[in-house]
Structures are given as C-alpha cells and as structure tokens.
Symmetry: C3
Subunit: 267 residues, 3 copies
C-alpha cells in the first residue's frame, strides 16, 4: 500500500495492509478497504463506503475518473472500470462487473454476477438481481427492477457493429430470465413476465408475456389477494426506500395507474 | 497470517503464507488453504478439506458460526457467509456465493457461479451445476439435481416483501434454464425439462414441460434406449455415489416408480 | 514471487511483486502479470500477453502443460486449468473459468462469467459473450458466435454418465439464451435465435427458432434493411477481424450462401 499527500488518509479509515491503493486515489473519511483489493488512479470514493476484499476498482479501462458516492458497499470480487459516476448508496453483490463511462443515480443495487456493459445511463433507486446483463448504451429510468438472468441486448442482427440499445422506463419490472430485444422501449411501469422476450415499443403499464412479447394486460390487473399484493407495486412495496423517495414513488404510482386509460394501452 | 492457541495448527496443514486466517478459526488436521484466501472468525473447517485461492470464507454476514465438514473442496474465488452448516464432502466450483444461515447435508456439489441465497435447508447428496440460483428460504430434499441457469424464485408478485419459497423433493431433476415460480412444490422424483417454468404442486414423478409448466408424463416413460438410459435415473446412474447411499437410492427409486399408479399422477 | 533460471525474466516484463509465479513457468518477453495472480507449474505464456489481477492460471487440474499464445489478454479473476492450448490473441473477460484439456485456435474471445468445461476443440476467431456455458467435449468450428446465457449441453438424459456433446459449425450464430440439446450438430452458418432450443442435425445455413427448435428459414433471408444488415453476417461484419482472416471469411460466406440451394435446406 502506497500513500501520498493526495490520498486523504485519516484515522477513521480502515485500509487493509494488503490492499493496493494508488497514491492518486481519493478516499473519504471512514472508508473501509478489504484485503487484496486494488484501487487505481483517478478513483474517488465517498465517505463511509466499504470496499470488500479481492476487488478491482478503477484498475481497468481509460484514464477517466471513477466516482463512487458516500455510504456505498462494494462486495467482494467486484470489478468496476474507470470513467463512471455512481450516486450515494451504491450497493453491489459479489463478482459484479461494471464497465466504463456509465452515469448511475442514487442507491443502485446490483446483484451477484451482474454485468453492466458501459455507456449506460441509469436513474435513482434501481434494483438489479443476479446474472443481469445490461448491454452497452442501455437507458434505465428511476425505480426499475431487473431480476436474475435478464438480458438487455443491443445488436439488431448479430453479429453487427450497429448499436440499438434498449430503454427501460421508470418503475418497470423485468422478471427472471426475460430478454429485451434490441431497440425495445419499455414505457413507465411496464411489467415483463418471467422468461418473456420483449421487443418494440411497450406502452406505459403494459404487461408483456411469452416468447413473442405480447402485451396481454395492464399492470393494475396484476394482484395476489391471498398475499395482499396489488400492482402497480408501489402500492405494496415502498418500505425499503428512504423517506426522500416516497413522494416520487407516489407520483409514479399515480401516473402508472392513469395509463390504464391511455388509448395505446387498450389491450 | 495470524495464529493463536485456538487455531489447531499442526504440521499436517498446508496454509499459504498469504492467506489471512482469523486466530479464532478452527482448522482440522490436513486442511489446505490457498493463496490470498480469507477465513474469518467463528469458522470451523473439518479435517482434510481444501480451500483454494482467492476465497472469502466466513468473512461476511453475522457472527453466527460457519461449519464446513471434512473432506471438502472449496474452489477458488468462492464466497461463503457466516451462519451455515455443511456436511462432509462439500464440493464447490469456482466463484460460488453461499449466503448465511443454511443447513446443508452430506456431499453437496455446487457448480461454478452458483448462488445459494441463504436460509435454505438442503438434504444429502445434492448436485447443482453452474449459474444455479437458489432463492432465500428454499427447501431441497436428498439426491436432487439442479442444472445450469435454473432459478428457484420466492417472490409471488415482484417486487414485494412476501417470501414464498419453493420446495424440491428427493431425487428431483431440474434441467437447464428451468424456473420454479414462487411456492412451487416439486414432488419426489419430479423432472422439469429444459427451459420449462414450473409452478404449483407437482405430483411425485411428474414430468413438467414447457412455458406453462404442464405435467405431460411420468418419469418412468423417459428413456433413451440407444444409450441404455431409463428413468427414474437411479436405474442408470448410481456409480458416483458412495456405497452408504446405495440403499437410500434403491428405496427412492422404488417409491418414484410406485408413484406411477398414484391417483394424482394419472396424467 | 519465486524465480529460477527456467523462467525467462527480462527487463521488459512487468510482474507485480504480489503475484505468485511458479519457478517452472515460462513467461515470454513483455508479459505483464497483475497483483495477486497465481501462475502454476508447466505454464507457458507467449510474449506480450497480459494476465490481470486475481487470476489462477494453471493452478488447478492435472500436470499437463498449459500454453497461452502471444498478444493475449486474460482479464481479472479468471481461472484457467492445466492441460489446454490457446492460439495467439486469446482474450478473456473477467471471472472466466476454462477447464482442462481443450485445444483452442487463434484469437478466441470469451466473455465475463463464461465457462468452458474441458476436452473441447475450438477453431479460430470464435467469439463467446458472457455466461456462456460450453459443455465438456464440445466441438466448435471457426468464426462461431455464441451469445450470453447460451448453454451447450452434453447429457442425453440427465443425470447419466453418457457424454453426447454438441458440434457447432464454422460461422454459426447462437443468440442469447439459446440451448443446444445433447448431440446437436449445427451445420455451417446456422443461426439459432434468442431463447430457442436446438436439437438434432441442423442443415448448413438454417435458422432455428422457438422452444421446439424448428428450422424456419435460411440465414440469407435474415436482414435489417433500415440498419443495412444482411446475413450471412460476413456481408456486414468483417471489420473486426485481421486481414489474414478475410479470405477465409469470404470463402465461408460463399459456402453458406450456396447452401440455400442444398436439398436438405429446402425448408
């Protein structure tokens, strides 16, 4: 571990002696870095963030700066390239790969073995589970949910050099094993059911089902009375978000409910 | 590497000097620990077990004890949380993640990149291939087979805080890319074919096929005469199990065969 | 880091001091080895190759030699077993696992979290994306494309000890989430669409679609006029291959086009 005046090293930080931290990295107060972790040049890590063991942070890619916000947790064996910006409260699983030049909002959570391929723009409070593959150039709004084994593709006729990435609206839910074909645009609050293949323009609040990606319903019809659950999901699931997000969730719920009556969602 | 009286360090152990082992960990005789591996407090590792390089064992999660049985192999880059118990003969692939508070029987094998999400109860001699995702709270019997990219879900209407995990009976076979929807209960010896989506209560010995998870057959009708294979699989595949498991496999085979005539499997 | 006369250590190499390199390994000139990487006995690495951090190279498996060609890049957290041979220009993603005894041609690229299970024969210029699982004993020709979450299986009636691996012809394209069932033989230039399950003998240039793996078309009918793309893919995508590959690609394109008129592809 090498250090220089540029690295703010305070008594409140806990840096494992085996960690390899560039003297040019900036670490906020109370940052914790685990054993065998590498932190490269041009990395800035906000206060109170924990980087666990065996990670490579800002050690690959361009010389552009990497900024990780405050109060974040990067779990072990994760790889984050240079050139991206993450808001406060980032939380990664283990063995995550995040490539260069993405702009990510507040409190993204991205699960074990997920792969964010670079040049993405992602809003606040997004949740990605494991083995989620977000293709290069994807656009994801706020409050989106992307479950395990979901793939956001971008090549319209593989293999080609044409990039036709997908767009995921605020509050969308993409269930386990679903695929978004290149150029898919999911409207706000759309719901893609498990194993479905979505494509084209999907109206706000539409439920997509099956290998042909048909819109079969509006999310407000999704419910599980025995368990007390009803969509849009903001009705039954807001407890895990901070107070500051509540108003935004209420507004989003109202908008998605209103989309029931929009002409392009008369399914 | 720090050591104390509490760690039984005998001449028969081979601990790489770069490994970071808590002085509170208990290592049995002949244990091998590879380079750059971390072993946390409250970890107990049975004799003759090999922990390869770049692992994090008991370094995350609660302060509850982690017990790994004898004659086990943990392959490189694996992460095992605190609070679980594994019987003898555990074998993991590379880059495996196993979260807290699971109870696992004898000789589980879990393949590369698989993810066991915690609070699970798993019987003896289970085999999981790669990229298998076992959701929190899953129950798996003895002798189950779970192939690559299989997901055991638990959220009945995602996202919610309701946990409705799945149950997999003894001797079940879940083929590549299959999904078990929340609350699925697979009867003993059920077979879920590649890419299928199973749900609800599946009778003993039923074959599930397709995106709607229909029961199409009884496993005793599955055969491959040219290759000399016939289900239940214990007919053609027992050579890899220890002698002590043979009687249990014979009994299980007999039970599954008998389920052909059960009223709820007249398909 | 231990060294002996056998390791060619020149001033042009850059070996991180924390790397653990066997004194029996042979490293070419200008090789770079990152922090916390392990290189075992009997490993030979060609000149100008970069092995990033946290890798295990030739540290598992048999005592058979592992040969990695020149100008290769092995990204972080990768695991490569003993006993395989890779041509020049190998490029791996992060967290890749490659097991023993495979023979791989020139310039293979294999993406993050992919798993090559051993005893495979793979031609030149193959491209595998992330989470690709290549079962033991698979045969893959030249210029094949295998996208994310594709599985090449090999067990005809799981679980069994019978090995019935797949064969992938030159120039094939296997799209995201597709599965090749055991014994599948894909003719040259075949195209398997996203999420399909292929089986049996697939004619040259056939397009496979859907869960039953039906041949629905010839690849020459696949086009995306708005984007200027038309199959066979060598028409619109050759820029990323070296000049030396161009003649081979032209010949392959011609052969695949000619297969339109072959009697077994009159679909």
């Amino acid at each position: 571990m090498r250090r220089s005046a540029k690295t703010r090293l305070t008594g409140s930080q806990r840096i494992d002696p085996s960690a390899r931290i560039s003297p040019r990295a900036i670490l906020g107060s109370d940052v914790v870095v685990g054993p065998f972790t590498i932190i490269g040049d041009n990395v800035s890590i906000g206060e109170n963030t924990v980087i666990q063991d065996h990670c490579s942070i800002g050690a690959s890619g361009s010389a552009r700066p990497l900024t990780i916000g405050r109060n974040s947790t990067i779990r072990s064996h994760s790889v984050i390239y240079c050139g991206s910006t993450f808001g406060d409260g980032l939380e990664t699983g283990h063995h995550v790969v995040i490539r260069e030049n993405s702009r990510v909002g507040l409190n993204m959570r991205i699960g074990n073995f997920s792969d964010l391929e670079g040049d993405c723009v992602i809003g606040d409070f997004c949740r990605l589970h494991g083995y989620a593959h977000v293709g290069k150039g994807s656009r994801i709004g706020d409050f989106a949910w992307i479950y395990s084994l979901v793939t956001l593709t971008n090549d319209p006729l593989p293999p080609s050099s044409v990039l036709d990435p997908v767009t995921v609206g605020d509050g969308c839910v993409i269930c386990v094993g679903a695929t978004l074909l290149p150029g898919t645009v999911l409207g706000r609050g759309a719901f893609v059911s498990a194993g479905s293949i979505a494509h084209g323009h999907v109206p706000d609040g539409a439920v997509i089902h099956g290998p042909d990606g048909c819109a079969v319903n509006h999310v407000s019809s999704l419910m599980h009375p025995a368990k007390g659950l009803r969509h849009p999901w903001m009705r039954h699931y807001t407890g895990k978000y901070p107070q500051s997000a509540k108003r935004r969730l209420e507004r989003l719920q109202k908008d998605i409910l209103a989309s029931r009556n929009a002409p392009d969602t008369q399914i």
